[in-house]
Symmetry: C2
């Protein structure tokens, strides 16, 4: 079992409605050993794909994304959540990302100058649940005419619809830890096979 999965079982905190908090090693406090494992697995999986850029979304995607980008020796770019009023629409690619957790929609942007049609983009994020953030990031890459090579995800909730939506869209996904079930009554986490 990977170190990330061990930490999820040991330190993940289960709340009602399948909410899993992993603040102690991935989302607020970040364990460098988890990061090194992510870098190793994601690099091994995508190393022949001629990645030119790593893309994520602020804030908790930034740590794994810069570590992976450093291993590929390519720039890391993070999309920002912006207030609509402050957008300079001619200078950014913009998409909307709905948060099921918060029940709100954010405008998410990247500067046009940092994505170009030659880019082969690896998208990194800490969580994949309903796929809203991932599909938003893919939309930004599409707007630039660049290519999404695939996604690298730290923790996937396989019982939610994000992975299925990405599979159906024909996007390659590698998830470090796939969670098949979170049982808040029994305080149990069951992993799915594979990545």
């Amino acid at each position: 079992m990977s170190y990330l999965k061990e930490r999820i079982l040991k330190d993940g905190v289960i709340f009602p409605n399948n909410v899993l908090k992993i603040d102690s090693f991935l989302n607020q406090q970040i364990d460098p050993k988890v990061m090194r494992e992510i870098v190793q697995e994601i690099y091994a999986y995508y190393k022949d794909e001629k990645i030119t850029k790593v893309l994520t979304i602020e804030a908790s995607g930034i740590a794994p994304a810069i570590m992976v980008a450093a291993q590929f020796d390519v720039p890391m770019l993070f999309a920002k959540k912006a207030k609509a009023a402050t957008l300079q629409k001619d200078q950014v690619y913009e998409t909307k990302v709905y948060s099921y957790t918060k029940g709100t929609t954010s405008n998410v942007v990247v500067s046009k100058q940092y994505l170009n049609p030659q880019d082969r983009v690896l998208i990194i994020d800490d969580f994949l649940a309903n796929g809203e953030a991932a599909l938003g990031l893919i939309d930004l890459v599409d707007q630039a005419g660049a290519q999404v090579v695939g996604l690298g995800i730290c923790v996937e909730k396989s019982f939610q619809k994000g992975r299925k939506r990405l599979d159906e869209a024909g996007v390659k996904v590698y998830s470090m830890a796939r969670i098949a079930e979170i049982n808040s009554d029994r305080q149990e986490i069951i992993f799915a096979q594979g990545h």
Copy 2:
């Protein structure tokens, strides 16, 4: 001259009122070569200080902070900007950080469980200007009864008051690039000596 300073001169964009945008290699798109240089210098400066934790503030401090934390092999912790309404005040240390750029004050928090009195904390941030964020982070560490070993800063605007305030508070600071002057008329950046 360091690679970071070279990139500031080559790619920094100067706006009126001494505003310097370095989005292309540090604040939105992040150059891994800049990160490696930061890691190398900050690690060399603080390596004997028995650092137990690296602390930063979301979002653009996260990338240098996790890279430095990985080198020290200690956890990285990032403070979050929180809406006052959503704070669980018994579970977080809280401080207020004023942004001169935005003219607004943010509530900044970290979970109490991730800072403890035994911690020797290295604070990392991308920019030091008036020192508001740095002093806020120091306040959070103080509330926990932990010790601030020092700060590692990527780009310091030495003509603003942050460095002076930190020097007067007796806090050790190592800045990768100290900017003595930004001249928007002549589109010129002049570095200060030392770190």
